[in-house]
């Protein structure tokens, strides 16, 4: 673990392990929500679960004037919903959230509230033509197989998630759903480490992966002065096939939190971008600027809520987002938590009246 300046909260790997092993497919965030509640309900001055299932937590400021800052992290993950039952313990499924169908065959999943184990298999290579190997297997030919005794054990409507178990390897974390349990775990630490001059409005949001739906209503309800979104964004820092320089890396592992200037849904508030950069430089926290472009976070819904809420996102870089097995660095995660914490600490109400440029 890197050294952190005094007062900086530290990440909790045990908590992350529980959060990533839990399954929270968009629309059914119950398992993660219950861990969040367990962690924060005894310390929050105000906490409620709204109509969509967002957990909205307030830590009141102790001094005045104070700023109301919403910090959001989505609880949901990509996964599946059972849509029909075939004979003999085989189930049709639909994908919930953005997932490349090429990664589905050959995976272990857990189905329903009881986490029934299942697998997504495929036609053996021995029975496939060589031209078949050049084509992705269509999702509608795949089934979740619960085993020969699995008939009637799952119902249409049940959710399923990947069965990958958390592990740590040297400086790296390997798990499913690091997008965005890294953000959820960091936000829990922020709730536990309040700042006197900030009213922290922590929003653990739902349904980010299917259209930023929880964050919009959470921002309306909380009505903050400013918002910061913590997420996990892809690091495409892999070698290019022809050994060319990689100019499309999005972010790089180990280079610190990735600050967003622009993505497909949001142009970050430039004052908040500058504030994050100045904070990182003043506190000696490594950071990187995420390559502007596609993708998006809850900020896309938050910044257009009400009369407009100046918002910035920052992400823990993570490889292999939206697959069954992601990889991120402990140091990037810790530095993300540190950067948000110190950015909040250094926020001054005068920022509200600062010019945008």
């Amino acid at each position: 673990m890197m050294s952190v300046s005094p007062g900086t909260p530290t990440v909790n790997i045990g908590l992350l392990e529980r959060l990533t092993n839990a399954i929270a497919v968009s629309g059914d965030e119950r398992e993660v929500r219950s861990i969040v509640l367990e962690e924060v309900q005894s310390i929050a001055e105000d906490m409620r679960i709204d109509a969509l299932g967002n957990v909205l937590v307030t830590r009141r400021a102790k001094t005045s004037p104070f700023l109301k800052v919403m910090v959001a992290a989505h609880m949901d993950e990509v996964g599946f919903m059972i849509v029909d039952e075939d004979e003999g313990g085989l189930y049709r499924f639909a994908v919930v959230g953005g997932m490349d169908s090429r990664l589905l065959p050959g995976k272990a999943v857990l189905v329903g509230k009881d986490h029934l184990p299942g697998v997504i298999g495929a036609r053996p290579i021995h029975l496939s033509e060589s031209s078949d190997l050049e084509r992705a297997i269509p999702v509608d030919s795949l089934r979740i197989d619960l085993g020969t005794g699995g008939a009637g054990k799952a119902q249409p409507g049940d959710r399923a998630g990947f069965a990958t178990r958390f592990q740590q390897s040297g400086p790296s974390l390997i798990a499913k759903a690091l997008d965005n349990r890294l953000g959820v775990a960091a936000l829990i630490e922020l709730v536990k480490n309040p700042l006197d001059h900030i009213e922290l409005q922590a929003a653990f949001t739902v349904q980010e992966e299917i259209g930023l739906r929880g964050a919009g209503v959470a921002a309306y309800a909380m009505n903050p002065d400013r918002a910061i979104v913590i997420d996990s964004t892809p690091a495409f820092d892999l070698p290019v096939w022809d050994a060319a320089e990689n100019y499309q890396y999005n972010t790089r592992l180990g280079a610190g939190p990735a600050i967003y200037t622009a993505d497909a849904g949001t142009l970050s508030d430039p004052r908040l971008v500058s504030h994050l950069i100045e904070t990182a430089e003043a506190e000696g926290i490594p950071y990187q600027l995420r390559q502007p472009g596609g993708g998006g976070t809850d900020a896309g819904a938050i910044h257009r809520q009400r009369a407009g809420i100046p918002t910035v996102s920052l992400s823990v870089p993570g490889r292999y987002a939206h697959t069954p097995i992601l990889l991120a660095r402990v140091s990037d995660w810790q530095n993300t938590l540190a950067l948000v914490y110190h950015a909040l600490r250094r926020l001054h109400p005068s920022l509200l009246t600062a010019e945008r440029s």
Binding site: G121, I125, L127, G150, F236, L238, W241, Q248, G254, I325
Partner: protein, 361 residues
Amino acid sequence: MIELSPFLKQLISLPGLSAYEDPVRQVIAEAWLPLVDELSISKLGSLHGLRKNRRNKKIEGEKKETSPRILLSAHMDAIGMMVTAVENGFIRVTSIGGLDPRVLAFQPVTVHGRRDLPGILAMPPDRLLPPEQGGKPVKKEHWLVDVGLPPSEVQELVRPGDLVSMATQPIDLSGETLAGHSLDNRASVAALTLALQELQYVSQAWDVWAVASSQEETCLGGAYTSPFDIRPDIAVAIDVTFAKGPGVNDYRGYGLGKGCALGWGPNIHPAIYKTLKETAVDLDMPYQIEIMPRHSGTDAYAMQVVAEGIPTAVVSIPLRYMHTPVEVVSLKDIARTGRLLAEFIARLEPDYVQKIVWEDK
């Protein structure tokens, strides 16, 4: 006493890629040690266990009487990968055995470097691949294994030739079925072990040579060489076959949990096939008939043509999703296979080989 489910889970949790079967061979040898009279390892790495016949007890000083021999072969090797290059902290690989690019994206793997490293078999995003690759299953030459360590450390720990094995954990499914990688063909190794266990209560007339063969997935290396060493009178390959299920709905698929499949085709001696079938009927055991019009795809293909030729048969365990990391087998089918083999051996009379004649008229 070997318990099938935990034993099989142990077997599939061990590496043992073709020609590098040592880790799994050690555990099989431990299990076989109390069940056989002699254990040895062949020049190509197959494990040979001999359980001598229990009728011709050798009397001291007397000329050794030769007993007929049966060889039971279950290959123990697994498919996997081998490191070809280390590139800026990422590991490039090639395949050992038949790997399907459509089913391996983002699998957990273990890189057997200077120490074992957990890793991810990653497929780079389309933006980092040649344009013609877009949307298609990513070709093997573009796969990258990521162990999450700094490049300098990877460079120190990993080098070309190191093995990479699948690391999917065994999964208990409903209906006494088990999912995992390498069930092809550790399921058959487990069945053969159960057969040896049942033989403890049998005074069989034949010498039984149990073989956990090497290198089936690459070149049938064990299957060509072990029978030459042992010179059996008959040989039976135990392997897995395709079970009906998603992706397999035609005649090439057999019912999962519906009993073992007895092979029929040019690799099969009809008389042994017939005896196996009669044995299954007498045991009131469900069985299926696997049609093998050409190459049986098993050790039998090689064993049949060793030396002057050997009468061979194949007993198969139906398995779904072969060569994916989530192969599925029925534990009942494995237990049935073990029982059938033991009973088949128990029934072998000393003159069985003389009696199996071609029914030519």
